[in-house]
Symmetry: C2
């Protein structure tokens, strides 16, 4: 069997995720032809310089014409507009998927626009870094990371199976999930952490009595860990907040309740309550390392990264 | 000039910090003799197996008898007890310092106990990992990290200079600061981040509708970043919370106010406010990388750590 999974793959959006897909598709030989499309002229030119695709167009409708697989990798707030642009040009039988961090909203935006003769299978690879744009991608991004598909009622098993095998060939581990459950799970494992990180970095940089240069100088004592998530793409995260509002508000409320309780323990000097919480949370990291979702090295392996010869 | 800075150094406490000091002192030849002392028999035995010192004792008073430099590396809540134990045995002219994350409380606990004929210079190396105990230390821990000394009124400049040079020889960059300002700076750059990390990990593991195994599986989408700080030593962090209460409560209040405002932006769909915050915070990370306090690699360099051959 050929390694080629699809004759033509159209990548709509060529940022961190799109360009990582382009690289792994090319490295693994998963497509006969890759069409790259984005609405920004300069980004498209950069993608071409990097040799990410086989053909390039600013016109998403043009891009999807002969594609057997269309992967929409844009901020979730733009999903509906993309669906409207490509709907009339899709090849019958094509698979259309996306990589958005919210699934309920993407489905609500895209499903009504797409024709009945294509297979729309929403998806979400749980992978990324704090960098964005076509230069930021790399072929190993999906290796050992989970990709969650949220197939709709009536999805053809053969199409689901093809898309599953494609993501596996990109290195991903696959799960399927109900879109509502996806949005609640992601609200706690991804959206809340990003919001909290953005918030604490904002709080620190607003302090009058501690200067920004002090915050920066002494950041290795804890603060810098949060700055990574808080350096993520602002457009992407604005859209996530606007498009998974209910689940995010629920998780924020729970977080704030717990924080009020922790604050009370600090105020009243309840050392036992503090010690109990601090002990309980330690076990969670061990679980993540054991599950292969984190490096088993102190300090995220920063020591190796800064002294690669070690 | 010999590299030896002190004839005898007594390390009281041999956890992550104490054992890292032992290793760098030995590697750099900064002491003629290292005495290791800790109250736990099994920890002391382990330190001896690891060859961290030249002599070993469970008796801290015995340990300091001939020491020119005494470094107290214990949870800050134990500082007063250590000071009482060693006060009567200290060599006149010895320098006594500590490594605690809170300075006001350590000074209040130790200063009244110590005799007038020693130089008490409180200190705080801003370095650590999420691991603890004598096995967790390494000689490079202090390299390029800041160490803040908070000298008291009347500190002899020569003693301050000797301690400064010692820490520099360990790899640190040195600053001096008023203890009250130290405690406020650390509350924002270190104590608040740890509390927030502990809190979010607690919130996530308490959810009924999202299982712990889902939190672990999908943690690479953001959550796992927080689990590192939340895996830090519970005793150390309980003591920090109990001993820097006022500054921590102030920072928690500011954080919560900002979070309420962010939550309001999510609820009312204020995309501009979200975008503004998310853009502002991005610059802070760039500042930290430029200041040499963070690795300039995506994802903390985890990719290199998990694929060291790359």
């Amino acid at each position: 069997m050929s390694k080629i999974h699809f004759d033509t793959i159209a990548l709509i959006g060529i940022g961190l995720i799109g360009s990582s897909l382009a690289r792994v598709i090319k490295r693994e030989g998963l497509a006969g032809h890759i069409v790259v499309s984005t609405r920004s002229e300069s980004t498209l030119a950069r993608a071409q310089q990097l040799g990410l695709g086989d053909s390039y167009t600013l016109d998403s409708a043009e891009a999807v014409k002969s594609a057997d697989l269309v992967i929409v990798s844009v901020p979730v707030g733009s999903s509906g507009a993309i669906a409207r642009q490509i709907a009339g040009s899709l090849k019958p039988g094509a698979i259309v998927t996306d990589v958005g961090s919210t699934k309920g909203s993407v489905i609500a935006q895209m499903q009504p626009e797409l024709p009945a003769n294509v297979h729309f299978i929403p998806g979400h690879p749980l992978a990324g870094t704090e960098y964005s744009g076509p230069d930021a991608g790399f072929a190993e991004l999906f290796a050992n990371r989970w990709c969650i598909l949220t197939p709709l009622e009536g999805t053809e098993p053969a199409a689901l199976s093809r898309l599953t095998k494609f993501w596996q060939a990109c290195g991903s581990r696959l799960d399927t999930m109900d879109p509502v459950h996806h949005d609640r799970v992601l609200a706690i494992v991804s959206h809340l952490p990003h919001l909290i990180a953005y918030n604490i970095v904002g709080t620190a940089s607003d302090l009058e009595e501690v200067t920004n240069s002090e915050v920066i100088k002494y950041s290795a004592s804890g603060f810098r860990d949060f700055t990574r998530l808080a350096a993520s793409d602002p457009t992407m995260w604005r859209d996530v907040c606007l498009h998974n509002k209910e689940a995010i508000l629920e998780m924020l409320a729970r977080f704030s309740e717990d924080l009020a309780s922790l604050q009370r323990s600090v105020r009243w000097g309840d050392g036992d309550a503090l010690f109990d919480l601090f002990t309980r949370t330690r076990a969670v990291r061990r679980g993540i390392i054991d599950a292969g979702q984190e490096v088993d090295a102190p300090d995220f392996g920063r020591q190796q990264a800064s002294h690669p010869s070690k």
